[in-house]
Subunit: 320 residues, 2 copies
């Protein structure tokens, strides 16, 4: 499927249709963004005036804790509030991407005929700068298209979690009893990134213990902070039966209010924009630097060290 | 512990002592590298003429497959051949690093008094460009210090695995029965990066099945390649009793011979040097670009898109 988008007029038309709630236009814009097409700067310019309204919520946690189920339950909860909701499922291990895949259709489930819901999975593996490049641009599309809430769900643990934090206004970290106790959480570095802890599958044995462990870890971690700081609440849920999801929605809203009252929301969005600009700039410069070429041969031969080679690469190609 | 290294003479002395086999000098050089100190270019220049001899072997796989045990068994096998062996254990999730830690002492185990063995754990989390920055420099230290074999062991799965490939001459991917069958391997992307598959804990049920699955996946994956290509062997081991380790050593040697015969070794080292130079150059440029500052405010306000902001950041700071 060729994009068929050639100029600023086409892009403006596409953005207009996306803002009118046409899912195909939204999907098309995300594809343009995801492919890193030449029209990307054009698309970004057309989106910019319409951005800044969506609430971005990150959903992360180890495999098996019930992220998809929780995300779906959250979508339902926000729909009951009359909000338009979009989901980006970021899968750093998958080479597949796009709205036409079986996975997305399965995920859509009961939202399939609801024009107020948009679900898209994004593969970031091997992509231009990975998550740090494509996902923020997809977020901008959904923001400009008028979605009130955008849920960014990660698959797997690790680097991607940290990057989600750079994107989200509020980050939910999901755990399940017996899978992630406090110490594991600390080890995985999720204590630092969580704004709200969700202990899912709370009907299972050990849920209370996991919740207690987390609260204790939170109290330890916050002890040495000066000034007012947000203390991540620990919410127990059974996502499969939507139990406790209302409390998650409340916790997200409380976190947002707290951030707004303490200047944190503006601060986070500034950091997000800075990271985005810097990532794009570095990527552009990387392209202009070009390959190391002959310099690599000199380094392999021991005639040049990589730092000296890097300086030569910069001075040769950026003409400083 | 302050470094106390101030000039080219000090660095040359340190490199000389490292080449004489003094472990403290090696450790000191790695610390200098790891801290990204101002002396880094000086250290790199002093190391360059002595590099290019070490054989670099990556050891990776999911948690619980027995990477540390296998690494220790490999160290023993290479020592029996009279080779000097170094280990870098890269832990992207740990904030701790350095030779004085309990972990390294435990790991040293029976090698603690052997001057032909050097073991160092490196924390890459939150480090300057992570693994892509510090680990290649530590490798150069060990290479210049005259270690014949450097084993780079990763902790955890994901991004770090892919980066190990960029470093290693040969990459071992470890699996254990019932933990990673063929499909899981394919999903984790490890089929593409493995030069040698090791099915560890082969005394457990399911080992033969795992090995068969892997061989089948390998045959599928290689079918569409043109030209000569290396077919990763599948070796069964019980690392705890050193069973099968000799075959792993043989497989590594055969892979090396194959690469040398097909020009792959030179090719890989060129790619490694290129990646290293480019990573350093990008990092240097990133520093010169500086923070997005006021541009981020314009992007948050919707007055500017991030691509236009990135161009302004570049033209403002790199004076092209």
């Amino acid at each position: 499927m060729s994009s068929g988008v050639a100029n600023a007029g086409d892009v403006a038309g596409l953005v207009g249709r996306a803002r009118d709630g046409e899912p195909r236009a939204v999907a098309r814009l995300i594809s343009l963004v995801e492919q890193g097409s030449a029209q990307l700067p054009l698309v970004a310019a057309a989106l910019a005036p319409h951005t800044g309204n969506a609430q971005v919520v990150g959903v992360t946690g180890a495999p098996g804790v019930g992220k998809s189920t929780s995300t779906n339950a959250l979508v339902r909860a926000y729909r009951e509030q009359g909000k338009r909701v979009a989901v980006i499922a970021v899968d750093p291990s998958s080479p597949f991407s796009g709205g036409a895949l079986l996975g997305d259709r399965v995920r859509m489930g009961d939202h399939a005929t609801d024009p107020g819901v948009f679900i898209r999975s994004m593969a970031t593996r091997g992509h231009l700068g990975g998550l740090s490049w494509a996902t923020p641009q997809a977020l901008r599309v959904l923001d400009a298209a008028g979605f009130d809430v955008v849920l960014v769900e990660t698959v797997g643990v690790g680097q991607s979690e940290v990057e989600v934090v750079a994107l989200a206004d509020t980050t939910l970290v999901l755990l399940a009893p017996g899978m992630g106790d406090g110490i594991q959480a600390a080890k995985a570095g999720i204590l630092e990134i969580a704004d709200v802890f969700v202990v899912n599958k709370a009907d299972r044995e050990g849920a209370d213990q996991t919740a207690r462990d987390l609260k204790y870890m939170v109290s330890l971690g916050r002890r040495d902070r000066s000034g007012p700081s947000w203390r991540p609440p620990v919410v127990k849920t059974v996502a499969a039966s939507a139990e406790g999801l209302d409390r998650v929605v409340t916790a997200i809203a409380e976190h947002r209010s707290w951030m707004a009252a303490h200047g944190e929301l503006a601060e986070r969005r500034l950091r997000r924009a800075s990271a985005e600009i810097e990532a794009i700039a570095v990527e552009r410069v990387r392209t202009r630097l070009g390959p190391a070429g002959h310099l690599a041969e000199l380094v392999v031969g021991g005639e040049l060290d990589p730092f000296a080679a890097a300086e030569l690469l910069i001075s040769g190609n950026l003409r400083q």
